[in-house]
C-alpha cells in the first residue's frame, strides 16, 4: 500500500465516521486540539481504522504517542508494512 493510499483511506475514516471536513485534514493537524477528538473517541477511531484497513491495532505505546495526523499515517503505514512482511 502506498503512502498516498494510507493518507486517503485514513482521511476517509475521519470524513465518514467523524464527519470532519476534508479541508481540516492536514498532516500537521493535532487529533485532539485541532480535530477535537477526546481519549474515548480514540476507541471509535481505532475500531474504524481496523475495519477500514483490515488490521488489528493493539493498545500499545506507539498508539499513545500519536498526536498528529502525520503520526497516524506513519503508524498505519508501519503496521501495514509489518503485515505485508508477515504475510509475504
Amino acid at each position: 500500500m502506498t503512502e498516498q493510499e494510507v493518507i486517503d483511506k485514513t482521511n476517509k475514516v475521519f470524513e465518514e465516521s467523524f464527519e470532519i471536513e476534508k479541508e481540516r485534514l492536514v498532516p500537521e493537524a493535532n487529533i485532539f486540539v485541532d480535530l477535537g477528538l477526546d481519549s474515548l473517541d480514540i476507541v471509535d477511531l481505532i475500531v474504524a481504522l481496523q475495519s477500514s484497513f483490515g488490521v488489528k491495532i493493539r493498545n500499545e505505546e506507539k498508539v499513545r504517542d500519536i498526536r498528529t495526523l502525520q503520526d497516524l499515517y506513519q503508524f498505519i503505514s508501519s503496521i501495514k508494512n509489518d503485515d505485508g512482511v508477515k504475510n509475504g
Partner: protein, 249 residues
C-alpha cells in the same frame, strides 16, 4: 439601558426575595418530602419527590425577578418519541440550572463539582441522585446514568462543560452522546437564549431581559444509531448553533 443605580436596586430586590423564598420554600419542601417518605417509604418515590421539589424550587426562583426578567418556554413539538430523554442544553449563565425547573419531566442534572458544594442545595442534589461527572469514573457514570434512564428519568447535560463567555457555544464533550448510543434514548436539544446576562459569567449582577428556552424536536435513536459519538455530538452542536442564531437574529 438600565442605570447603575437601578441595576443595584433590581439586584437588591432579587437577592432579598431569593434569600427569603429559599429560607421559606426549602424547609417547606423538605418537610413535604420527609413526611411523605415516612408515610410511603420507597426510595424510588422519595428520590422522585426530591427531584420534583428541586423543580418547584427552581420555578419559584425564576419567577422572583418578574417582570424585570421574563421567561418564555417554547415547545411546539408534537409526536416526539417517548421519553425519558437525554436533554442537551447550551450553557451561558449560573441561572441555567434553575431554568430547568420549567421542564415537565422527572429530571436529573449532570453537574460539575461546585453545585454539590452549595449549602443545602448540594445536599438536595445528592438526594435527588444528581451525578457529578468529574468525581466518578466514566464506566460508573455510564452505568448510573443508564439506570436512571431505565427508571424513566430524563437526564440534562450541559456538554460545553462550562459557561461560555460569548454567545457562541463552546465545543461539546462526548459523554452525553456516548450514553445516548449505549442506551438508545432520544436526544432533545434545548436552546437557551438571553440568559447570558442573568447573571453574566464573573458577576453576580442580574440584568433585566427576556430568557427564551426553546425545546427542539427529539432525535430518535433510529436517526443517529449509525453515527459515532463524535459525529453525533457535532451534529447536535450544529443543530443547536443554527437554532440559536435563528432565535437571536
Amino acid at each position: 439601558m438600565i442605570s447603575r443605580f437601578n441595576l443595584y436596586l433590581l439586584n437588591l430586590y432579587f437577592y432579598t426575595l431569593f434569600v427569603l423564598l429559599s429560607a421559606t420554600v426549602i424547609p417547606i419542601l423538605t418537610v413535604y418530602v420527609v413526611c411523605l417518605g415516612l408515610l410511603i417509604p420507597s426510595r424510588r418515590r422519595t428520590m422522585k419527590r426530591f427531584r420534583r421539589a428541586i423543580s418547584w424550587y427552581g420555578r419559584v426562583i425564576i419567577a422572583c425577578p418578574y417582570p424585570f426578567i421574563k421567561l418564555r418556554y417554547e415547545n411546539a413539538v408534537k409526536n416526539d418519541p417517548e421519553g425519558p430523554y437525554i436533554i442537551i442544553c447550551n450553557h451561558r449563565s449560573a441561572s441555567d440550572a434553575y431554568l430547568m425547573g420549567i421542564l415537565p419531566h422527572e429530571l436529573v442534572q449532570i453537574v460539575n463539582i461546585w453545585p454539590f458544594r452549595i449549602p443545602v442545595l448540594g445536599i438536595y442534589a445528592k438526594l435527588a441522585g444528581y451525578l457529578n461527572i468529574r468525581m466518578i469514573p466514566t464506566e460508573e457514570f455510564m452505568q448510573s446514568a443508564s439506570e436512571l434512564l431505565k427508571d424513566g428519568v430524563s437526564i440534562i447535560f450541559f456538554p460545553e462543560g462550562t459557561r461560555s463567555t460569548t454567545n457562541k457555544m463552546g465545543s461539546f464533550h462526548g459523554s452525553a452522546f456516548r450514553l445516548a448510543l449505549e442506551t438508545k434514548a432520544a436526544i432533545v436539544p434545548l436552546c437557551i437564549s438571553g440568559s447570558e446576562n442573568i447573571p453574566p459569567k464573573g458577576s453576580p449582577l442580574l440584568r433585566p431581559g427576556i430568557i427564551t428556552i426553546r425545546r427542539m424536536p427529539a432525535i430518535a435513536w433510529s436517526e443517529y444509531k449509525d453515527l459515532t459519538a463524535f459525529a453525533l455530538k457535532n451534529r447536535v452542536w450544529k443543530i443547536m448553533d443554527h437554532e440559536l442564531s435563528v432565535m437571536e437574529s
